[in-house]
């Protein structure tokens, strides 16, 4: 469009001859100009045509590569064209979606369907039919290639319309500094309007300046800019600068690293507290059901872990049904699984109480052995039904990934589990303290015979309390399926910790379980970086033993008749 417009303005000047002398030359010039623009037009036209053909020729080379270094050479050739159109085939290659049709050695972007692979043109993205997996071969990639492609795409997607893509591109360029990046980054900074993107772009430019041969003053400014970023990738960049530079630049880098590290040390402490709280929430979830059956009823239930496992397997079954019948509901799978897990575990708990435990009240040793046996039976039953291998329980999208709070990466699944643990605790507390059923439950635990004389059907209260404790273990299983294995052994890992929490917190007290879980979690996570996971756990156990020596009834001992039994 602009070219034809220019031609028109040129020709309009033709009709205004001013002096004869000049006028004679003008038409010549005009023809010259017209010819030039035409030529230009023609060359640009054929250039874009040639560019596409060239790109296709390069892409076709993927069909003949025999190893990763050859694939890498083709990738380099593609990125060297600097054409944004190469993004599609390169991204497909990085994702392992670039295919070659065996019949004619054509290269396609593929999308795996149910049976066949749908094929698309690598440049235009137009659908190109489909092929069965036997007729096509995948162009294989490895990590080195994926990284090369990611770095190359970083530069190519700097001009993307989506700010998040631009930030990702700038971030990649920050992590892989290259003196050649300064030019494109300068241009991008000049045209950038979003402040957050601009900041990252400037950091990327600073990182690139540090590896270029720019004057020292520029480098010092760059170090200050990167130092202000203050995260681990900044340390990474500055460390390599420190190793290669000398004089004031080296000193500035050293100082900046020290500055970042001292602020990171604070973040580390914050991180330990968060990890501790998160571990505490898992312990609380696992232990809270036990706080009822063991804490309130005094039943040593060794099959408690298996209730958790049943909850996790219920989640698996729910997800299995959703996957095969209602794939759209996958993000809701956990919410659907919650009531079902509660019902399944509560029903099994009820059966155990009615079938075994009610005959054994007041005989803790027998109860312990009987429930241990039940736990083995449940484990083996699950192993027989579902097989011994781990079952895949997927994370819904809102449970995956993480977000940053300052320098702290908070993973969504841990955050949701914390929220969930606290809300389960709140609901349970309400049931125990505010409902008439909770009142009856507390009456029976406080004084069974008196409660019975008041007309409370104590056997039923026992059965329902046990079912409630088991049901809560079941919904804990739904949450734990998100962070742990779903295997028949799932419960084993939690039973010891659960008893530890309940005993430490004080038998018979829900608040004790809460405080116990969180303090154990935080102490554990503070010890772990220094002592290692194995020693950390031992130290925690020793501390608990010492604590129990001092206060045999735990943190919050129940006073009165409740503990007499």
């Amino acid at each position: 469009m602009s070219k034809t417009a220019r031609v028109r303005t040129v020709s309009s000047t033709v009709r205004t001859p001013t002096s004869t002398f000049k006028g004679r030359q003008k038409p010549m010039k005009i023809f010259h100009a017209m010819g030039l623009t035409l030529l230009l037009l023609l060359t640009t036209l054929s250039a874009s045509g040639a560019a596409e053909a060239d790109l296709r020729a390069i892409i076709a080379k993927f069909a003949t590569v025999t190893d990763f270094s050859e694939t890498g050479a083709v990738v380099q050739e593609l990125t060297a064209t600097g054409d944004p159109a190469v993004e599609r085939p390169l991204a497909a290659l990085a994702d392992g979606n670039l295919y070659i049709r065996t019949a004619d050695s054509m290269v396609f972007v593929g999308k795996e369907g149910d049976e066949n692979v749908q094929l698309f043109d690598p440049l235009s993205g137009e659908a190109a039919g489909e092929a069965s997996e036997d007729d096509i071969t995948k162009v294989s990639v490895n990590n080195t290639l994926r990284r090369a492609i990611r770095d190359a795409l970083g530069t190519l997607t700097l001009g993307s319309k989506d700010p998040t893509v631009r930030i990702a591109a700038a971030d990649t360029m920050f992590k892989t500094p290259d003196a050649a990046n300064i030019g494109p980054l300068d241009a991008a900074i000049a045209s950038e309007s979003v402040a957050s993107v601009k900041a990252v772009l400037e950091q990327a430019r600073a990182a690139s300046i540090l590896v270029s041969d720019k004057p020292e003053a520029d480098k010092l400014a760059a170090i200050a800019l990167i130092g202000a970023r203050g995260d681990r990738s900044a340390v990474s960049i500055l460390t390599s600068v420190e190793a290669n530079a000398s004089g004031t630049v080296k000193d500035a880098a050293t100082a900046a690293i020290a500055g970042i590290n001292s602020s990171l040390a604070l973040w580390d402490a914050g991180q330990n507290i968060w990890y501790g709280i998160s571990l505490g929430s898992v312990l609380l979830l696992a232990a809270i059901g036990l706080a009822i059956t063991f804490g309130v009823m005094g039943v040593i239930n060794m099959a408690h872990g298996e209730m958790v496992m049943l909850g996790a397997y219920t989640t698996f079954v729910v997800q299995q049904v959703i996957r095969t019948s209602f794939p759209g509901l996958f993000d809701w799978s956990l919410i659907i699984a919650l009531p079902l897990a509660f019902l399944v575990a509560a029903f099994v708990g009820l059966a155990i109480e009615r079938g075994i435990i009610r005959f054994l009240y007041g005989r803790p040793l027998e109860t312990l052995l009987a429930t241990w046996g039940v736990s083995l039976i449940l484990q083996q039953a699950v192993r027989t039904i579902f097989g011994p291998t781990n079952q895949e329980v997927g994370n819904p999208s809102w449970m995956s990934g993480s977000f940053d709070v300052g320098q702290l990466a908070v993973t969504w699944n841990r955050l949701w589990i914390l929220v969930f643990a606290l809300s389960v605790f709140g609901v349970l507390l309400y049931v125990m303290k505010r409902t008439s059923w909770g009142l009856r439950m507390r009456a029976v635990t406080a004084n069974r015979r008196m409660a019975a004389s008041m007309g409370i059907r104590t056997p039923w209260v026992d059965a329902l309390t046990f079912a409630l404790g088991s049901g809560i273990a079941g919904i804990a299983g739904v949450a734990l399926s998100q962070i742990d294995n779903v295997s028949p052994n799932l419960g084993r890992g939690y039973i010891i910790d659960s008893f530890m929490v309940v005993v430490f917190g004080g038998v018979g007290n829900l608040w004790g379980a809460l405080v116990g879980a969180f303090s154990l979690g935080i102490v554990n996570k503070f010890l772990e970086p220094y002592a290692g996971a194995v020693l950390g756990k031992i130290v925690v156990l020793v501390l608990i033993i010492l604590f129990i020596q001092k206060r045999p009834r735990g943190l919050f001992a129940l006073k009165g008749r409740a503990v007499e039994a």
Partner: protein
């Protein structure tokens, strides 16, 4: 003391009974089946891995019987369940050999279970086929190691990471579960890395307990260690169930394989079956076999397996291939010896060569380890591995590591004149010590 004495009398009396039984067994030679013992946990923590191997053995025995059995007799599998309980492994092994009079035993997974049955096998002179990758530093006359020794898995894996294709890694995290296999393997790797010029501050070693599930601190420590401006990789000897939460945490904290790849020695197709592998694409594993290897032998093996187990989704894995090789070697050695007498079969085993599933042949060496190719695979979105590197030839299992001071002078050769599992080439005497 009394306990010890009771134990000794028990062992002695058991030995006497066993000898008597063996004698009576050889007296009535006209037995119509050859019994093969299968010693894998079918309950307890290890059931997750070992049950599959039991099924694989049953399939192999069924196939051999369909081919007409062995020496004109049918094979009969005797399955026992040592229930992931290490002392019970020794008891069950004794039961298999003395009571059931099996001709050979296929079994064990963990090193501690293998160590617990060793005395039983040498005392009663029977054969154990051990199918799992292990830490080395051992060579017994009665044991055939069909899994990988460290030089058939760990060393080539580290070599790959150091190569240009693997990303020229300069900084190493050795992450393992706290027991004998990771500790010994990491000791070997540390010595190996230092011999390649890696500085001590570029190696971080960390251990976690069995079944560990809260990996937040460890993963963020890896992230921190990896931000020192040098290419970093994790070498993971994390075992069994602990892997799933480990990989979930890696995915959630956004550690990508392009930045910090994790090379695992104990993660196979089976372990990945419990995981959504999309965030893990590109993380690595080193084995001698992958289900994705496309050879006619492997395709047949997989389709046979699916038919046998009646489930098209069950995966195959490296220890299954090890049993495949071990069982076929035993069959061949028995045919060669013309008898199932363990003593004669042990001598006939050395030099036996059978096809493996990756398109080559595996041979039993005089040190009772086998030759195998080493494959490096990257995890794919579909839960399979794609081979990204393969050793050009077969690698011979080296039982005594060359990188540990205690074992570098030791060799093993169970052939006639030497017949020694720990011959010291410096002193010229049989009997040296390993690191365990």
């Amino acid at each position: 003391m009394r306990g010890n004495f009771a134990k000794i009398t028990k062992i002695v009396s058991a030995g006497v009974v066993a000898a008597g039984l063996l004698a009576s067994a050889s007296a009535k030679a006209a037995e119509d089946t050859i019994k093969v013992g299968i010693l894998h946990s079918l309950s307890g923590t290890m059931a997750i891995s070992e049950t599959t191997l039991k099924d694989a053995m049953l399939m192999l025995i069924e196939q051999q019987n369909a081919k007409g059995g062995l020496l004109g007799k049918k094979l009969e599998a005797v399955v026992v369940d040592p229930a992931s309980n290490w002392p019970l492994f020794a008891e069950k092994a004794r039961e298999l050999i003395s009571k059931d009079k099996v001709a050979a035993v296929f079994g064990c997974w963990t090193s501690v279970s293998r160590k617990s049955v060793l005395p039983v096998f040498s005392e009663l002179d029977n054969i154990l086929f051990y199918p799992v990758q292990y830490e080395g530093e051992e060579s017994e006359r009665n044991v055939f190691y069909t899994g990988a020794a460290p030089n058939q898995q760990a060393i080539p894996a580290v070599d790959y990471l150091m190569s240009k294709d693997g990303g020229s890694v300069k900084r190493w995290v050795l992450e393992g579960t706290d027991y004998v296999y990771p500790r010994t393997t990491n000791k070997i790797l540390e010595a190996y890395l230092k011999s390649k010029g890696v500085a001590a501050e570029d190696i971080m070693t960390n251990y976690t307990p069995f079944g560990f599930s809260d990996w937040q601190t460890e993963v963020s420590a890896i992230k921190k260690f990896g931000s020192a401006g040098k290419k970093t990789a994790v070498v993971s000897t994390v075992n069994g169930d602990a892997n799933v939460p480990f990989y979930k945490e890696l995915g959630n904290q956004g550690i990508k394989a392009e930045d910090i790849p994790v090379m695992a020695f104990s993660v196979g197709e089976e372990e990945l079956a419990g995981l959504d592998t999309k965030p893990l694409v590109g993380h690595l594993a080193a084995w001698n076999y992958f289900e994705s290897v496309s050879t006619p032998e492997n395709k047949k093996f997989i389709s046979d397996w699916h038919k046998f187990i009646k489930n098209n989704k069950r995966t195959t894995n490296d220890p299954m291939e090890a049993h495949y090789i071990g069982f076929n070697m035993w069959v061949k050695a028995v045919e060669k010896a013309g008898t199932t007498d363990p003593d004669k079969v042990i001598d006939a085993m050395v030099g036996v060569s059978v096809p493996n599933l990756t398109g080559g042949y595996s041979t039993m060496m005089p040190n009772h380890h086998i030759t195998k190719p080493v494959l490096i695979g990257e995890i794919q979105a579909n839960g399979q591995f794609e081979t990204v590197s393969k050793t050009p030839g077969l690698v011979m299992g080296d039982e005594w590591s060359d990188y540990l001071p205690d074992s570098k002078d030791l060799i093993s050769d169970w052939r006639a004149p030497l017949s020694c599992g720990n011959f010291n080439v410096k002193t010229g005497k049989c009997g040296g010590k390993g690191t365990n």
